[in-house]
Amino acid sequence: MTSPSTPPPAGAGGPRPVLEAHGIRKRFPGVLALDGVSLRLFPGEVHALMGENGAGKSTLIKVLTGVHPADGGTVLVDGRPHAFTDPLQAQRAGISTVYQEVNLCPNLSVAENILIGREPRRFGLVRWSETRRRAAELLTELELGLDVTRPLGAHSLAVQQLVAIVRAVDVSAKVLVLDEPTSSLDREEVAQLFGLVRRLRDRGVAILFVTHFLDQVFDLCDRVTVLRGGRLEGEYPIAELTPVTLVQRMIGGELATLDQLSGRAHGQGAERAAGEPFLRARRLTRAGSIEPYDLDIHAGEVIGLAGLLGSGRTEAARLLFGADGADAGEVSIEGRRAPLRSPRHAIARGIAFCSENRKSEGLVGELTVRENIVLALQAARGWTRPLTRAKQDELARHWIEALDIRPADPEAQVRHLSGGNQQKVLLARWLLTEPRLLILDEPTRGIDIGAKAEIQKLVARLADEGTAVLFISAELEEVLRLSHRIAVLRDHRMVATLANDGTVTPERLLTTIATGTDS
């Protein structure tokens, strides 16, 4: 990691920020997405905006670039207040954005993509030779050699990204917002992009850089603004941070309480991990979502998947359920090869998956508790063998009681239940199919403490009864309490598998998450 090449701007007497946001508030129906967030951006700096998914990074960018109007707070460009209501206004004020998805037209030439809307003209007609010459000039200035007459779609995604930046800078060269520009680029392409960013920085452009990748922040950025849960956590010169302290600031100060864990799962790991694994994954991968990983899950074992939000935890799990197809690698179940091509294959082999988005991917809000509970079992039986109503009622009553679902009314519509109870309905649905492997993706997110504890107890009990569990959670505490072994994910890669034998402390787990090495 290189140290920042420009000194952090001094407070008083230093250069004036080119872009300043104060006390930005933004409310979406039901959520306060941004609550009093501030940001300062100086000319000639690369400034990282960090935070977990849902911390408000995207919302802040959208407010700064005029996609969403703010509900409160002020945005100052060069000291003058602005209230942008669409991206064009922001562009005119000097703020350009390059998104993760390249927002250019693949059917037009490189030259056109750079200059469209601003082509040189004579008598209302576009001067093509002049257009091509200017585009080539701009590219050469930034040390990029491209054939400007080729259609953009013929170039790689990385080159398209670079072209998008060149366009953005040519449109308005004061502030450049890069929203996760590197997430689909390989190492060399990232280096090329960083080269361009550094050249722009040296010309005095202020660059706001949003990324998930910690290394890139330390590589490229001068200062960092960290958001957490829609609030400003702080603004730091990068030199004052280490990867570990940065992650701590991103996920919050729960560390003090983490020490008081009960070591419930400690010590049983070795015993449960003995023998033939129920599921064995080897070099399983899917391009763009998770790099090749190995994983064994034994019957009765709880495997925790730890990592920041967006680190590839869900992606890894979805491959095991066949929800996404793997590009390469293999899965065997009880020693036999089992290509999991679709969730149907996975369900047939005794794998159940409780999704993170219980609303969009799991439960049907308009159906009753009973109907939601029997859904998966009915699907497993096939539509030719319907469950009788009496059987449905019996099952629903049994599971409502077993999981203490409230209200204890099988005919209540699921959308009226609280988050925790919805989660239990979803669990009941899958438990009904008596899965051999239960994948739980953030089963306790957004539910109250009581329901959380019950779900944790249930997971422990299921494991004791011989069910294999893959437990995904952002809360280190939970993962440490429940898991026999913990697989750590970082930047879409499984970086370590730790046996939870009492030696794993929250600090050690956090370090692994932050640095990618278990030290």
């Binding site: 064009l88 056109e112 003209r121 763009g288 790099e291």
Partner: protein, 340 residues
């Protein structure tokens, strides 16, 4: 996570090797041009009197109005939209022209601007609805299609024949060239429209915005291009071309009738697609559309020369050709898959 593997995956997913975008846009055009030459060659060998320059000029005389409306359709299809109201707008224009000239004795010179304005305004209105309310162009122009066709019947349920001398004079004017070859006034108008459309599409900002809109609408908006105005304008252009096409058809048939131009929108779309414009938008040439119109006309001419075939064979051949061209577009690579 490397794009290397992602690209490989994308390549693997595509049934045929990727070709460069440039090849993709040009191959259909070359195929169409080749087809035209082959058809003319076959006709010349098989039928007496087929091999003459006048046969080619007659193609233009008989299809001038189709060329004009197909140019309008090309603008819309290049943005990724569709205009189903073309045929009805043509019929309404013939009706309006015949009614005003014949029943009300208006001079043709006064009727023409009125009809053109009506066409452009109703097209622009549909474009505005499509843009403002974010409704599928298919539905909006379908409504426009019924509306315009219905309005024809409020003028008259019968065919109105024009015998106004100025109009018939203009219709029957033949412009003679060397060797006794001749064209009609509508042919010159149609060619002028074609040239204008070419210049507009390839050499003005509006034209480039049309391509950008068809390439990726949300990108075009984020690039700061006036997507709304462009969308309203292309449907306006299509309406204008329909109205002009209607005027030319009125001159060709010297009548206005509510049943004129039934399904002409489909001929226009077929000509555009056969001419190499992608239905998904963003790729194609208006000159290709002209070739497409000539191909359709050539099929009609061949069927006529054959003499024993029912005129429905024209439709059957067009249908088969259209299918071949759409499959060809697909094989040359879905643009969407490279855009990712």
């Amino acid at each position: 996570m490397s794009t290397g593997t992602a690209d490989t995956a994308a390549r693997r997913a595509r049934p045929f090797p990727a070709v460069s975008p440039r090849t993709r846009t040009r191959v259909p055009l070359l195929v169409t041009a080749g087809l035209l030459v082959v058809m003319f060659g076959v006709g010349s060998v098989r039928y007496e009197g087929f091999l003459s320059a006048q046969v080619v000029l007659n193609l233009l005389i008989d299809n001038g109005f189709l060329l004009v409306v197909a140019v309008g359709a090309t603008f819309v299809i290049l943005t990724g939209g569709i205009d189903l109201s073309i045929g009805s707008m043509v019929a309404l224009s013939t009706m309006l022209t015949a009614w005003l000239v014949q029943s009300h004795g208006w001079p043709l010179a006064a009727v023409i601007p009125l009809v053109l304005l009506t066409g452009a305004a109703s097209g622009a209105l549909m474009g505005w609805i499509i843009h403002t309310f974010e409704i599928q162009p298919f539905i909006v122009t379908l409504a426009g299609m019924f509306l315009a066709r219905g309005l024809c019947y409020t003028i008259s349920t019968e065919s109105i024949t024009i015998d106004d001398p100025a109009t018939t004079g203009a219709a029957q004017t033949r412009l003679y060239g060397p060797g006794g070859l001749f064209v009609s006034i509508p042919v010159l108008i149609a060619l002028a429209v074609l040239v204008t459309a070419f210049v507009v599409l390839h050499h003005t900002r509006f034209g480039r915005n049309v391509y950008a809109l068809g390439g990726n609408e949300s990108s075009a908006r984020l690039m700061g291009l006036p997507t709304g105005a462009t969308k309203v304008a292309v449907y306006g252009v299509s309406g204008l071309c329909s109205a002009l096409g209607g005027l030319l058809l009125t001159l060709y048939t010297l009548s206005g009738y509510a049943l004129h131009a039934m399904g002409m929108e489909l001929d226009a779309i077929a000509a555009t697609v056969i001419g190499g414009t992608l239905l998904t938008g963003g790729s194609g040439f208006v000159l290709g559309t002209a070739l497409g119109v000539l191909v359709l006309g050539m099929i009609q001419t061949l069927v006529n020369f054959q003499g024993t075939l029912s005129s429905w064979w024209t439709r059957i051949v067009i249908g088969a050709l259209l299918l071949v061209f759409i499959v060809l577009q697909r094989l040359l690579g879905g643009r969407r898959s490279t855009a990712r």
